[in-house]
Amino acid sequence: MPALQAKFHWLEEAPLAGAYTMAPHPELTPNALVAGEYQPQLEKYLEDRVGFRTWLIRMRDQLSLSLLGVARSTDLLVGRDNVLFQPLPVNAYLGKNFLGEEEIRYRVRRMRIVQQELTKRGIPFLFVMAPNKARYQPEDLPAYLRHVKRGPTNYDIFIREMQANKINLLDLSRLFALWKDTTRYPLFPRGGTHWSGYGVALVADTLFARVEQVGGFDLVNFRREGPVKVTSDSVQGTDNDLSGPMNLMFPYQHYKMAYPRVIFDSLQAGQQRPNLLISGDSFVWGFMHFDPYLQTLFTPESRFWGVDETVFIYDTHFTRTGEDLNQGDFRQQIEPRQFIMMLVTEHNLIYGRFIDRLYELYHPLTEADNSKIKVIEQQLMSQPGYSDSLWARANRENRGFEEVLQGEARTIYDHTER
């Protein structure tokens, strides 16, 4: 029956949600056959297309969730009342990815220098801390995590240090916590990891007012108008980004989610659409998907750089520009901007590449620096057993030995001398 269904598709099977790839049809060659490479590839190809596959997967996922409280999809934790979480934000909230106070102080110190350099060039900088669902509603975490002893978190120390270093900071995590008891509609969805459409709408007022204040701009006006659409059946945008890929047999029970109608005025005299560069994580998409804040308020030359340095334009299709930040003149990527914003949630605080790049732009290594780094390399190599551990690391990370050694020496130099 599965073979017949696979061949003739008599019964319609809804496609599965989530990001996955289907195995391609392997090429049959004598060599592949004899080497035993063709066989497993064909098995995978057929397995991905076997009849009733989607039903069977949905059944398994539903049974796992309903009977065992386990989500089969990658990176999902099922909390109280089937509230879904991702492990990384939860770990960040528990302090499991803590960088250490010294490292955070070092990073924020660099951020302050970057902010100063940008300000000198007339480019305002704003750091926006997006909220973390695990921090926002820890009471809904899975039972075994609710009682875990929390350690110091990157969030706490970064905020403290950023305030101490006078970084332009907007802590939306704190704002969410303040709104939590009075909000009319959920600020986080039950089946999603990002702020809800309603949460984005509330935050947008605060965020763009702050951009106006820090940048000295007058942005295009927008406002919420008319009745708020409330639904639990047809949630929008990222409000089901975790529940969707669970691929259940029966509909996932969402909270009643609200979607305010946002009206954007046209550009008035004295207003402007600045060129905004955002370096951030997936929370940025909320300002494009629910309503076109970024598309409307900022110039088309504006860009969104993901934490992995993929470059996107502002739209709802995740359109990449294909630009490679390692190629070309980095200064040209930065200095035409009229505003630079970092927007990340706490589990992505561990990424420091963006600030490092900006720091290097304005404080490039000198010959003297390079000589000192060479000395550190030599000191490292003279330590007994050090080269063995470096070789092991190079193999593990599939990198060259020299590259790992230079990186190590450079990190030590940056942390001690610069």
């Binding site: 990001a19 397995e47 049974l63 990658t74």
Partner: protein, 442 residues
């Protein structure tokens, strides 16, 4: 039909070894034909030739790497440069089909059975796909008649029973062994410093159930497919964890291997009819070889030696103690088995010893989080493994698994259970490779 399917099955998994494998089957067949016609010392020569060829093949493909690695290590120890060699690839199923070729040779030599007249029947015996990769090890005399005439077992009831048995095996593998294996794998890959005593025992117990439900699941599937196509393969497991001694354990665990070792190794060494000291040496030798058969590594040899030691201790005094404590002897026997499986599961002998150290001398701390699925599966595995300690349940179980005739009500009930288990297992198999990501990047 069965032979064609078997050839395709083998070719699919090991096309590059098919020619070698077929050549060895042809040589074996011809030698045994000659042996059957020969007399006295000539007969013995053919016997020895056949055994040497088969054992040499097994040694080359399965153990060459092991011996060269050890020689290289020894050379390094003595200050010489390490040996370089191209690793030998292991043909699938060689451990099992070598033993079957040997039983054919020896059974014919002993006159237990006449040799098969048809080469194709012989090839079918060796290649029969359900049991080829992981057993049961079918001794020639157990199946000789069925190779030429299977009408007695070619009934609807047998096919239904076969399907039921196959699905039971699949469920054991997919719904129990795989779930426990996932966690056992995680625990066994931890560094000893991260392993508390409680976690080490949990990992060892999980693996104990994993290997039972995995291996016996494969045997059930082989027996089930065999019944569906008209063959009656011997049973390979009989609730081994309710054994009251290691001696009994080996009458219930991998039964066909135990019998093979007994008939073709232990008895030729003198069996029970030797002085006690010699008997103990024989027992130990057989079990060390059995461990080595399971895998070409020191930890497998140690595993065999560990079991051999307890078989000797059984005969020396343990059986008398067990008799006194009755059913409670299941517990120490199970504990010995659990410890033994650590030797079997670990990546090396030193890793096994480090793991065992944590089991007996580690610190006792709270267990980390495991899902309800894991605990529920572990509980199920425990119940299914020990429930046959009640004689009534054991009788019911054996009756259910070996039934040859079905009343309508039983057919319906069994059919319903089979359908549910089949759908569940297939959904788990298919779903296990489907793990969509929420985001591709961040």
């Amino acid at each position: 039909m069965a032979l064609t399917a078997s050839l395709l099955f083998y070719a699919w998994g090991g096309l590059n070894f098919l020619a070698l494998f077929l050549a060895s089957v042809v040589v074996n067949f011809v030698l045994i034909r000659y042996m059957d016609r020969a007399t006295n010392w000539q007969k013995r020569i053919y016997l020895i030739m056949s055994i040497v060829i088969n054992v040499a093949m097994l040694f080359y493909f399965k153990y060459a790497n092991f011996f060269v690695e050890n020689a290289s290590a020894m050379r390094g120890y003595l200050g010489g440069p390490p040996l370089t060699w191209e690793k030998v690839v292991l043909p699938i199923g060689i451990s099992f089909f070598t033993f079957e070729k040997l039983t054919y040779t020896i059974d014919v030599y002993r006159g237990v059975n006449k040799p098969l007249k048809s080469f194709w029947d012989f090839m079918l015996y060796i290649m029969l796909f359900p049991k080829m990769i992981a057993g049961p090890i079918v001794r020639f005399h157990e199946i000789a008649d069925q190779l030429t005439d299977r009408t007695a077992f070619d009934t609807i009831d047998h096919k239904l029973a076969g399907l039921f048995r196959f699905v039971i095996g699949l469920s054991k593998k997919v719904l129990i062994a795989n779930v426990l294996g996932q966690e056992a794998d995680k625990i066994f890959t931890l560094a000893p410093t991260d392993l508390s005593m409680s976690l080490a025992w949990l990992g060892a117990v999980s693996y104990t159930f994993q290997i039972y439900f995995d291996f016996s699941g494969y045997s059930d599937m082989a027996i089930g497919i065999g019944r569906m196509i008209g063959f009656q393969f011997p049973e390979n497991f009989n609730n081994p964890y309710i054994s009251r001694s290691i001696t009994e354990f080996w009458q219930r665990w991998h039964i066909t291997l135990g019998r093979w070792m007994r008939d073709y190794l232990y008895i030729p060494l003198g069996g029970n009819r030797v002085k006690p000291a010699r008997l103990y040496v024989n027992l130990w030798t057989v079990f060390i070889l059995s461990g080595f058969w399971h895998g070409a590594a020191w930890n497998f040899i140690a595993w065999g030696a560990f079991h051999g030691l307890f078989l000797v201790l059984d005969r020396l005094f343990l059986l008398r103690i067990y008799k006194k404590i009755g059913v409670l002897s299941i517990l120490p026997t199970f504990a010995i088995t659990v410890v033994g499986w650590v030797l079997f599961r670990a990546e090396s002998l030193s890793a096994a010893l480090a793991y065992m150290k944590q089991m007996f001398a580690g610190s006792w701390s709270e267990l980390p989080y495991f899902t309800i699925e894991f605990w529920a599966t572990l509980a199920l595995a425990t119940v299914f493994s020990f429930m046959a300690a009640l004689p009534r349940i054991e009788r019911w179980e054996i009756g259910t698994l070996t039934a040859e005739r079905f009343a309508l009500s039983r057919t319906l009930a069994q059919g319903f259970v089979t359908a549910i288990l089949l759908i569940l297992s297939v959904s788990y198999v298919i779903g296990s490779t489907f793990n969509p990501f929420i985001y591709f990047r961040f």
